[in-house]
Amino acid sequence: MSAPSLVKPEAVPVTRSPAKPLTFGARLRRDWPLILMCVPAMLLLAVFHYLPALGNVIAFQDYNPFAGDSPLQAFLQSEWIGFGNFQYLFETPAFWESVRNTLGITAFQLIFYFPVPIALALLLNSIMSPRLRSFVQSVVYLPHFFSWVLVVSLFQMMLGGAGLIAQTARDAGFTAPDFMTNPDTFYFLITSQAIWKDAGWGMIVFLAALAAIDPNLYEAAAADGAGRMRRFWHITLPGLRPVIVLLLILRLGDALNVGFEQFYLQREAVGRDAAEVLDTYVYFQGIGVQQWGVGAAAGLFKALVGLLLILGANKIAHRLGEQGIYSKS
């Protein structure tokens, strides 16, 4: 049995006619309204994604924005240094330390953060009252719209040395451990912050997947005598599986992306060894010291690793009979 897809298969597949394929002109005459409708989106993509991607050329240059007579000339006339920027990066131990930290945080959050939105969605889905459910849903996803500065300050007010917990403990004659400045527990701290901020937001897509599961399946299973646990195991989880796998693959592709602000804000508090991630490294050693080529090189490296991870994970998903990020034709 193939896994049920997110979208209900309403569209009836077009029956292939045995006649020979249409000419380009004929297809153009037939499809032009569709193509026209796609044009704005394609233009957006071209202008805001493909065109700027050409700027990656500075990863191979000692980029000087003021070379030549115009900004465009600057790209053409900056000195070509081949892999000099990459070499600079790869020879710097601090770069690899930041990569290691980033991957460590990704791995940690895959285990301790990734399942949280799923669990939350399942819990929420079991609430019967629609009003209560939408209320809880709004409350838990609202923090997604707060900035990291706010989230970190909030955690500081609760857990910091002058925070609520520390102050209450002092009143009672104890000393509370300092959660905010301990490098050893930093992973827990940032993961709690991530859960508080984003778990509710991440839950929405799982709720949608849950809503797409055909209620008839539950009724039929219940009629056949399946209990709560069995229905969960045989209907709910398989129904969620394609979405879980899809998001897992996308998350892997983002393995070198754990965010910037959260780490920038707390970097001094726990030290570089614990909190330097790729993005903060690029900020301090690329942008902060005007080495834009180095920053671009790190960006390319990140994209390349992400692409490899996505392709790899997708391949594995296909092997396991999952749909992955696109179905295999």
Partner: protein, 547 residues
Amino acid sequence: MSASTSRRTFLGLAGLGVASVAMGCSKKPGSTGTATNAEQAAGVVPTFKDSNLITPDVKGIRPMADGYVKYPANLVDAITEKAITSGKPVTATTPWWGPAPPTSNKYVEAVGADMGGTITFSVQDGNTYGDKLNTMLGARDVPELTCIPGWEINKLARFSDGVHVLFEDLTPYLAGDKASAYPLLAGLDTAAWKDSVWGGKLMGVPFPTDSPYPTALFIRKDVADQRGIATPTSLDSLYEFGKKFTNPDKGEWAFGDIFLEVLQICGAPGSQNGWTKAADGKVIHRYETEQYKRALEWMARVYKEKLIHPDLASSKGGDVTTLFKGGKIFSYATGLGSWKETQREKTREGKGFNMQAVKVFGADASTPPVRWGGTPSIMWTFVKKGLGQDRTQELLRVLNYTAAPFGTKEYELQNYGVEGTHFTRDANGAPKTNETFTKEFANQFIFLGGRPAVVVSDPDLPTYAQDLVGWGNDATKYLEKDPWAGIKVETPSSQAAIQQPTDDKVTDILRGRRPLSDFDKVVQEWRAGGGDQARDFYAKVLADNGR
């Protein structure tokens, strides 16, 4: 995607990786530093002609600016001819740390009208000003007048190249006696003008500071007096001060981060980010001095004993000024420029809040302190390149207008707006600003161009001029002599790249994550990573200038 394609892609990627290893000989990126010779700079700056009109109430010992306690009764109309004659609006970009002012703005209109035209301001958020500038400069799309603070210049990519591409060389207009066409610009401090020279050319109009000191150590004098705690006069008494003020049960801690102050108390050098010329003529950095080690040790102890507010130790977002104003901390280091605003806000609440800069002291009786001097100019205004001689002269007349000193009608109009609309006068004739002013005023004309710096008391802060100039005059005794004074040093990017990792390691030691004994190793790494190279660079700059 078929299996074969992905295999080919993979091989291609692997090939790229191999190539990057094989290209081991490719050139590394980075700018090399430059420096403008001191003599060269002296040749292009305007001849100084004092433009001050009023005798100061508190005379400042240079480089400290003069203080004025009373508002002058008779204002001078310094500029009678209109600055803008073409009728063409002037475009300008300035920073502002506050809510954006309305575009329909009576304050901007009034000053513009007095100049004879209109100024179209693009006021940008000061906190992200550097990002905006990077984009504007990179796109080479700058307004006719661009205001750039000194601390942003270090963040701008290849500014020493960009300044000549984007902005007009003002040497032909202002060098030497040519500046007499702009008498008020000629009244700006010569040291600030020398600081405006890039690559041997006069590139910008400076914004002179009222004092050279980047920061001072402030305490809550009112609470200290109330609790009978003595003002610190040595490193030991500063520690005692911290102990007595720290009381976590009441949510009170003594300090904000005061490391830069402690370095000066211990006598560590600060020119050019910590370089100095030792007695034996060698160029050394403060990392290599005993004074630095002593400060580090003291500060690490203060962190360990938790005399610093935990919010400041746990996130960059901690707001030290709010903690100080709220009575959560009692001493911190900040720029002298914020003294007036902080004190004014609390004065208006009327609860006896009194913040004072601590009289400069040394670590102990035998250790003289130093006070680091900042750059003589903290901001520059640049004129867009290629506007033609007539327009450039017109824009310089606008900057001549903004350079109007204290005691002129132009100064009052730019600082307080229009009488009746933006301010009223108190019994002594001093302007008291109102709500309209607060809404419309975003330092537009103040940042547009510099003027001779003055320290002025106002009705809310009657002793401000005496306090600040008094403190500065005393501090001048300890002002560090910068061996590179008058030379515009543009540091190489390799040196900038070594700074942050070293700062990180020092922070680790301060916060107790690394032992103090690691510091020698940190210095070794710093020397090998670019510190020694930077030493050669700075030594060469001195040698080239015959110092």
